[in-house]
């Protein structure tokens, strides 16, 4: 004797026993997670196993911190681990190296407004919207400079992107033809870790006779270029 098999369709309601089990499992899971979270530590601060002393510094109070690798300075307002005060006695948690600072018209006066070039424009104005990031390199980096004609291989203006040709460099870096830079050659420098640089997108440059070069490429301003950094 065989039991007849009952076919079901996609829309047919099936007995609820299985659904009740799934719902109960979900409730239990939520409760376990909730209980575990009571004992979890803050994700933004580490508990200290022993007392530590260090000095905290936050420079550029008006600056806006950005970047994925910034240190967590003392007094930044982030939540500490719950058990910190009970288990460890020490003075302040120290500050690591200063992180990147985003500058622009919204939080001026900005550092590169202090540098006026012979043309009368400030270095800040050479960045798109006058906005750029101030940072100290944490590792050696290689920067490139398109040069030729009147422009020599050394400059305070560099790019992270290896120029692929004179036209690309002129457009992306907004190299004004009036400067006499033919951009037919490329120089490179190896900037050591610990060097302060300013980077953003190259701003537009108006050209004689009307029109402008839009820029938009990577622009890095290095205030203190050491000729010894040149890559042969």
């Amino acid at each position: 004797m065989t039991t007849p098999v009952r076919r079901t369709t996609g829309c047919e309601v099936r007995p609820a026993a299985g659904g009740v089990f799934v719902a109960l499992a979900a409730i239990v899971t939520v409760m376990v997670v909730a209980v575990m979270s009571l004992f979890a530590m803050s994700a933004s601060a580490s508990p200290l196993a022993r007392a530590q002393n260090a000095v905290g510094v936050i420079a550029h109070a008006a600056g806006q911190r950005v970047g994925a690798h910034e240190g967590i300075p003392a007094g930044q307002g982030r939540e500490r681990a719950p058990a910190y005060d009970q288990t460890v006695v020490g003075s302040c948690v120290g500050v690591t190296a200063e992180g990147p600072i985003r500058w622009g018209p919204h939080n001026g006066p900005v550092p590169l407004d202090k540098i006026t070039m012979p043309s009368g424009e400030t270095v800040a104005s050479t960045f798109r919207s006058g906005s750029y990031t101030q940072l100290t390199t944490t590792e050696d980096i290689t920067l490139y400079h398109a040069y030729g004609g009147q422009s020599g291989p050394l400059s305070p203006f560099w790019t992270r992107t290896m120029p692929s040709g004179p036209l690309q460099a002129q457009l992306d870096l907004a190299l004004n033809p009036a400067w006499g830079n033919s951009a037919e050659a490329v120089s490179a420098i190896r900037v050591p870790a610990g060097t302060e640089i300013f980077e953003g997108a190259a701003g537009p440059q108006g050209v004689a006779g009307g029109g402008s070069l839009l820029g938009g490429g990577s622009q890095v301003y290095v205030p203190w270029v050491n000729p010894d950094w040149m890559v042969p």
């Binding site: 012979p118 009147q150 422009s151 291989p153 205030p223 000729p227």
Partner: protein
């Protein structure tokens, strides 16, 4: 001030500055503040002062007056004649420019810590 004295001043200034941009009487060479140059040779003889930059830009100042010296700038605003004999970077195409007046200005990078 003799050309030899001026030479001493120039050498001392470049020793500190290391590199500088060059502003000629009628334009900023390589774009305003855009190109930095190293002093690769400097000589004085009679009333002439020769300055070579990057081994391919030659400035010959005849009867240079005492330059104006500041931390950021070295300015020649008095001379009888300036001959600027230079080759283009990248292709060495030759050029010659002669000036009888106007300031020649070397501008150093900003001092560390000044920003």
């Amino acid at each position: 001030m003799s050309a030899a004295d001026v030479l001493t001043t120039v050498l001392a200034w470049f020793r500190e500055a290391k590199v500088a941009s060059l502003d000629l009487p009628d334009h900023s060479f390589g774009g305003p503040g855009r190109s930095l140059h190293q002093l690769t040779r400097a000589e004085a003889w009679n009333d002439r002062l020769l300055l070579e930059l990057d081994k391919q830009l030659l400035l010959v100042l005849t009867a240079p007056g005492e330059p104006l010296v500041a931390q950021e700038e070295l300015v020649f605003d008095k001379y009888d004649q300036l001959v600027f004999d230079w080759q283009e970077y990248g292709n060495k195409r030759p050029h010659l420019e002669v000036y009888n007046a106007g300031a020649v200005r070397f501008v150093a990078q900003p001092r560390p810590g000044s920003l």
